[in-house]
Amino acid sequence: MITTIGEIVRGDASVFPPYLYDAYRSTIRRAPRQPLVEVPLTLSEMTGPWRPSERVTPEDADLTRNAGTGGEAIGQRIIVTGHVTDEGGAPLPNMLIEIWQANAAGRYVHKADQWPGPLDPNFLGIGRCLTNAAGEYRFLTVRPGAYPWRNEPNAWRPAHIHISLLGNSWKDRLVTQMYFPDDPLLGRDAIFNAVPESSRRRLIASYDHDVTQAEWALGWRWDIVVGGAAATTFESGP
């Protein structure tokens, strides 16, 4: 993919995408152009929102039935699960995991998504859960479809699930996307390819037959690694 790649990156430049990646057109007028400023790490960055929402229910993690219609979403039923750990492998429990995705036809409920893919009245495409004591999350959903966008002529986004992780520290907040292996659209996708090549595979789930449930749902495993505040020293008062 031929593109201008900006030099401004927050975090390890071999892992995190640059702000400016002009093949992804929306970055061009939104990427900062001034260098990021190095600042001391303080309590403000090492603390962060952490108390799990009391509103999270087990039903929230079942996207095939959480539309509240009594009906079930149409599509290939999948289980998406994995462990959230820090760089040392320590599990991160009580993380709030929020996901959103297109339906099996590649259509979002969102009013700004107006391409003529069919909506599914039994699918909202949103879910959430908390990681358990082992740092594990688990969702039941349907495999999302690819969908067109207007980044370039005949552009289609590969199937993906958006995921947000909240609850370790302010500095280690993460929002990312999970993809599926062998998707022919991955090589053309400006958002996926904005990640340095050696790190892209970390955004791709693995098929796991041990997660698959007989006559019910296919299993996908995707582990996530975020910075671990507790293991890091920082400057503070006496």
Binding site: V9, R10, G11, V15, F16, P17, P18, Y19, Y24, S26, T27, I28, R29, R30, A31, P32, R33, Q34, P35, L36, V39, P40, T42, L43, S44, T47, G48, P49, W50, R51, S53, R55, T85, E87, G88, E98, I99, W100, A102, H110, A112, D113, G125, I126, H162, S164, W170, L174, V175, T176, S199, R202, L203, V225, G227, A231, E235, S236, G237, P238
Partner: protein, 201 residues
């Protein structure tokens, strides 16, 4: 953490894209009040806009907010002075509207311990997420007419000519804001008035 203990590589970030509203901003996930009505301290109302490099509003951004209480204590286990949960959370999450506008209420944060023996100036930490941002941006909002801004180590890390982008502007009270102090804080993603963003990672 020493490199010898690092065994797993971090997961890269990706943009929130344009379709996050039903999830991140659902009624019980959005939060425009960082401090409950019974939280102690000076009430504040903050409003502003998020603007792109053309000065155009960014209508599909999410801001997350994090601050200490009026005594400068974070309600978090990593703050050794914190003792117990209260109605104060210090966390907020708000979206921008079609004009790029956002608003939230809170109490004036106290001074938090900083590097060495120094106290930091009062501030609210802000994370900016949007379509077109492949990784979120970190900044801080400071308060005007606050002498401690001049000794704050984070502020002093910023080139002097760019520091004003981190300081909110006091505005006049409006109806419904009895007793609250009003502030405006705009976030400019790109351009000559670009907000200072931090290399926190």
């Amino acid at each position: 953490m020493s490199p010898a203990h690092v065994t797993r590589a971090l997961t890269p970030s990706q943009t929130v894209g344009p379709f996050f509203h039903d999830c991140l901003l659902r009624a019980d996930a959005t939060c425009d009040t960082l401090a409950g009505d019974d939280a102690s301290g000076q009430r504040i109302h903050v409003h502003g806009r998020v603007l792109d490099g053309d000065g155009m509003p960014v209508p599909d951004a999410v801001l997350e907010l994090w601050q200490a209480d009026d005594h400068g204590v974070y309600h978090h286990p990593a703050d050794p002075r914190w003792t117990r949960p209260t109605s104060f959370s210090g966390f907020g999450r708000v979206g921008t509207d079609e004009d790029g506008r956002f608003a939230f209420t809170s109490v004036l944060p106290g001074r938090v311990p900083g590097p060495g023996d120094e106290l930091q100036a009062p501030h609210i930490s802000i994370a900016v997420f949007a379509r077109g941002l492949l990784n979120h941006l970190f900044t801080r909002m400071y308060f005007p007419d606050e002498p401690s801004n001049d000794t704050d180590r984070t502020m002093l890390s910023v080139p002097a000519h760019r520091r004003p982008t981190l300081i909110a502007r006091a505005t006049s009270p409006v109806d419904g804001s009895v007793g609250a102090r009003m502030f405006q804080f705009d976030i400019v993603l790109q351009g000559s008035d670009e907000t200072v963003f931090f290399a926190i990672a």
